[in-house]
């Protein structure tokens, strides 16, 4: 009998493989028969092709899907009673958790720490989401923001020029209520002999109709131009128990105001914050009288001025957009090298994700999401890795159970579910721990994230709780995924025959990979801490170009600078007294635009007296300082600029700049009297900018006193006594060098956050490492016993047990070094424009720290095993 052509073997095998345990014999039979029939009608190749096509036809058919589905349930598995299985899973899970106390503790600790960071960001984001939701008109309130482009830099400003609101009001109707706000109300509020700094807003009369800030007493109309509304807590601070309504407050140079109403405190989730409200019309009046510096007609001045609209119900914003585009085109198209456009923003977008500068209050960029997610993952991942590592390492102890389950009818899916459930239980227990950690670190983190800790409120609300539980379950699933897949794939025969490997440190496997990633992450954190400490040290010790030692900055408040100087000069321990408007390097950020023949440059200005340059050891490279006689005349004539200023202005040489005119505005023109060497008057994140010194005594707010006495404390007491004769206000003085240090607080905050997170990540990794070492050495106790009997010294055995882990640590570091190095170099260059880079030292220090920590962890266990008595270990069974 000749062998007749057979159906393609590969196709049959493929089909059988695909169908697994499903009953498909009849289908294959059918296909065979068809193949046989076809063979007599067509060439073999065509019949074969048809066979293949039919295989695929069947694979994609409903009938095969159903058969596969049916076959995946064992005849004995009872799918009807899943509640009972669930109970069983729960019981087994709790039992096995109780049995392995060390591993359970390590897992719960790690997951708690990781999840606490997650909860922190859940509460943070949900708090940020509630921003401005208390305004009744929140659906219809819009803000006009400005995009500017001066050909060098584009900016996205939350503010808009002052004349814009008036223009819309006058020329375009139908846009509902327009509210102008100016935030330059920062001054001293005085009532009786009590004086407090106040920060508030100038607002249009309809402010409280548009925004829902609640009134608790008085009148909210803002009709009285010299009336003021105060918040409850500020009123209490200023007036104590007295009824504030109708009281008179003196606001710096702006005059006297009557308290007309008391508002409830601004809610923490408001994007704007104020202690006092004064009518906008008064602001315009004050600006006209030059009691306040403001340019109300300048379209190129955006800072501090805000425009909000309450559009009528159902009003389309397209009209407004096109009107704004038209206005921008009108006003800016003629200006060279400058362009600006207006955009509208809904109130909901204001606080979150607006990414604008010059904000009215707190605002969050979209980076908050990114930061939250990445920090959570960075801490959570090592914890999840621990879980995965430890549980797969423990596979041996569970293998029999799984084998048994499979034999009596458990299918892959069920085993998988069982282990996922077990992890979810752990992660839910960890959630409790995470909550405890969260309550501990909450306030600390609030103050690290934003300057004013009281502007935030992290609360566990029911909705947050819900998110936290969802988050915990997700964490559980994530952590349990690897082990569950691993366990589900165990072969029952191998498991019951005890040949399933416990798989501790095999060749290249998942556990090794995860350990390496953990070490790499830990290294990154350690290096972060080391690098930022290093940068902080160099930044604080950086030669800023002026002398800040032994100089005491005293706030002048309402004391006349001349009188202050006279009384300070009487004290013997004081060498020199100078006056200034700002503290150099700390808050010297009063910037103005100089317009000169179409060319405008932005310059930082500071008002100082004739002694200032000498007092701070600033280096005058050309010209001369202010004359003493000029210092106290209100008639400014000269200015002293830094070298950068002359460069930007384009003078041919430094000498040529002397005597050149500098036009400030229509009424003021100064001549350059001297030129200083460049020095760092801003923090180091910026390159040195152009700077000009002016000498108008009206602006002096600080007396800079150089103390030469050994008895510093005594001198300060003397000064304070002199002060008490001059003013009722509290004496405020700080050492210049301390203030400079404080200005570098950004570093301390970064270091703090890094330190805390790094501590968590490293602890988690070390715990994971510890349990892996415990496990792998436990499995080798017999081997160690035999080695010792054969004469191996303790040291060699320790080395043998340690070296695998050491290799992994090194590998993790090697992977991490270039990545961390680049990342931190990038971060540093943003923080410090004059940074010299990281250098090799921090890398070495970090490496040493990581290896020390890791080796301590590993050797603590391996040494114990290596030095154990072989008679005990060999008798182990």
């Amino acid at each position: 009998m000749t062998r007749s052509p057979q159906p393609p073997k590969l196709a049959v095998r493929f089909f059988k493989w695909y169908c697994k345990d499903a009953m498909v014999e009849d289908m294959l039979g059918d296909l065979d028969e068809i193949f046989d029939n076809n063979r007599s009608k067509m060439p073999v190749w065509k019949a074969t092709l048809k066979y293949w096509l039919q295989i695929f036809d069947l694979i994609t058919s409903y009938s095969l899907r159903k058969r596969k589905n049916d076959s995946s349930f064992h005849v004995m598995s009872n799918t009807q009673n899943s509640a009972a299985m669930f109970k069983n899973y729960l019981k087994v899970a709790l039992r096995s958790l109780g049995k392995q106390k060390l591993f359970t503790a390590v897992n719960i600790l790690g997951l708690s720490a990781g999840m606490s960071i997650g909860i922190l960001f859940i509460t943070l984001i949900s708090f940020v989401k509630t921003y401005d939701n208390f305004h009744e008109n929140k659906e219809n309130i819009y803000r006009i923001i400005t995009n500017t482009d001066d050909k060098i830099k584009t900016k996205r400003l939350a503010s808009s020029p002052a004349p814009l609101a008036r223009l819309i009001k006058d020329d375009h109707s139908g846009f509902g209520d327009i509210v102008q706000i100016n935030n330059s109300l920062h001054t001293e509020a005085q009532s009786g002999n009590k004086q407090l700094p106040v920060s508030g807003l100038f607002v249009d009369n309809n402010f409280l109709d548009v925004f829902s800030f609640e009134l608790s007493a008085g009148d909210k109309s803002l009709k009285d131009p010299y009336g003021i509304l105060l918040t409850q807590s500020f009123a209490t601070k200023l007036f104590s128990d007295k009824d504030p309504l109708g009281e008179i407050i003196e606001l710096g140079d702006m005059g006297e105001f009557t308290v007309r109403g008391i508002l409830k405190d601004v809610p923490k989730n408001s994007h704007m914050w104020f202690e006092a409200l004064v009518p906008y019309s008064t602001f315009e009046k004050l600006a006209k009288n030059e009691q306040i510096q403001a340019n109300l007609n300048e379209w190129k001045d955006f800072r501090g001025n805000y425009t909000y609209l309450l559009l009528p119900e159902n009003k389309n914003t397209d009209d407004l957009s096109s009107t704004l585009n038209q206005i921008a085109a009108d006003k800016y198209s003629d200006i060279d090298l400058f362009d600006a456009s207006f955009k509208i923003q809904t109130l909901a977008d204001v606080a979150l994700g607006s990414d604008t500068s010059d904000e009215l209050g707190t605002s969050w960029g979209t980076e908050i999401y990114l930061m939250g997610l990445s920090l959570t993952l960075l801490i959570l991942l090592p914890a999840c890795f621990n879980y995965a590592n430890i549980s797969t390492a423990r596979a041996l102890s569970r293998a029999k159970e799984i084998g048994m389950r499979k034999v009596v009818g458990g299918v892959r899916k069920q085993i998988f579910l069982q282990f996922i459930l077990e992890t979810v239980i752990i992660s839910l227990i960890s959630l409790i721990g995470a909550y405890l950690i969260f309550t501990l670190i909450r306030s600390e983190f609030q103050s690290m994230l934003v300057a004013g800790a009281n502007s935030m409120d992290f609360q566990i609300t029911p909705i947050n709780l819900f998110y936290a539980i969802v988050f915990a379950i997700a964490t559980g699933v994530l952590a349990g995924l690897f082990p569950a897949i691993h366990f589900a794939g165990i072969k029952p025969i191998a498991a019951l025959r005890k040949t399933a490997k416990s798989q501790v440190m095999g060749k290249v496997n998942m556990q090794k990979t995860l350990l390496v990633i953990q070490f790499a992450l830990s290294f990154g954190f350690i290096m972060g801490i080391v690098v930022f400490i290093d940068q902080y040290r160099t930044a604080v010790n950086y030669d800023l170009g002026f002398n800040e030692e032994n100089i005491l900055d005293i706030k002048l408040h309402d004391v006349d600078p001349e009188i202050m100087r006279a009384s300070l000069d009487k004290l013997a321990s004081i060498e020199e007294v100078s006056m200034s408007s700002n503290v150099l390097g700390v808050n010297s950020n009063d910037r103005i635009w100089l317009h000169d023949k179409g060319d405008s440059i932005q310059v930082t200005q500071m008002f100082v007296d004739h002694n200032y340059i000498k007092n701070l050891d600033l280096n005058l490279i050309a010209g001369k300082s202010f004359e003493e006689s000029e210092s106290f005349s209100k008639n400014e004539q000269f200015t002293i600029v830094n070298e950068e200023f002359t460069k930007l202005k384009g003078f041919e040489s430094i000498e040529a700049a002397i005597g050149q005119p500098v036009r400030i505005n229509d009424t003021t023109q100064l001549r350059i009297a001297g030129i200083m060497d460049n020095f760092h008057f801003q923090n180091l994140s910026r390159k040195i900018q152009p700077l000009m010194f002016r000498n108008n005594p009206d602006h002096f707010t600080y007396a800079n006193v150089k103390v030469v006495s050994d008895d510093i404390a005594g001198t300060i007491i003397n000064i304070e006594e002199e002060w008490k004769k001059l003013s009722p206000i509290k004496f405020e003085a700080k050492f210049f060098s301390d203030e400079i240090d404080e200005a570098f607080d950004i570093y301390t905050n970064v270091v703090k956050i890094f330190f805390f997170l790094g501590f968590l990540a490293i602890t988690i990794s070390c715990l994971g490492l510890l349990s892996m070492v415990v496990f792998s050495t436990q499995n080798r106790t017999k081997e160690v016993g035999i080695r010792k009997v054969m004469g191996a010294p303790v040291f060699n055995v320790t080395y043998l047990l340690t070296k695998d882990f050491l290799k992994l640590m090194m590998l993790g570091s090697v992977i991490s070094i270039p990545i961390s190095y680049m990342l931190f170099t990038l971060l540093i260059s943003q923080q410090n424009a004059y940074s010299t880079g990281i250098g090799i030292l921090p890398v070495i220090i970090s490496l040493v720290i990581l290896l020390t920590l890791g080796l301590i962890t590993v050797i603590s266990q391996t040494w114990k095993v290596a030095s154990s008595n072989p008679t005990d270990t060999l008798r182990y069974e």
Partner: protein
């Protein structure tokens, strides 16, 4: 009556009925192909058979080992009582409609 009887389903049911106890995959397929002069995919046929079985219109059993087709077993199908009811219900509906439309069909043919 549960389940809607599709055109192809009805065809398969009737064919199974015609074969008596001898209806199995290839036989059904070839018979329908011969009578309707259209090609039927094996996947579609098996899916339909599975669905009909789910609806309890047919029942199936495996036959013994065979000499042809690589010694593989055949799966035979048989109509259940419910299947029969479904078929006759379907026929009744058609008859009713035929009676109603006979006049117009006749005139159309004239």
């Amino acid at each position: 009556m549960k389940g809607y009887l599709g055109e192809f389903e009805e065809l398969v049911l009737l064919t199974i009925a015609a074969f008596g106890d001898e209806a199995y995959g290839v036989a059904i397929k070839e018979d329908i192909e011969k009578r309707t002069n259209r090609s039927i995919s094996i996947g579609a046929l098996h899916s339909t058979l599975t669905r009909l079985e789910e609806k309890k219109f047919i029942s199936s059993w495996l036959g013994g080992a065979t000499n042809e087709r690589g010694g593989r077993k055949k799966r035979f199908f048989n109509l259940t009582a419910e299947g029969k009811t479904a078929l006759s219900k379907s026929k009744e509906l058609r008859d009713e409609l035929w009676d109603l439309s006979q006049v117009s069909i006749k005139t159309a043919n004239d």
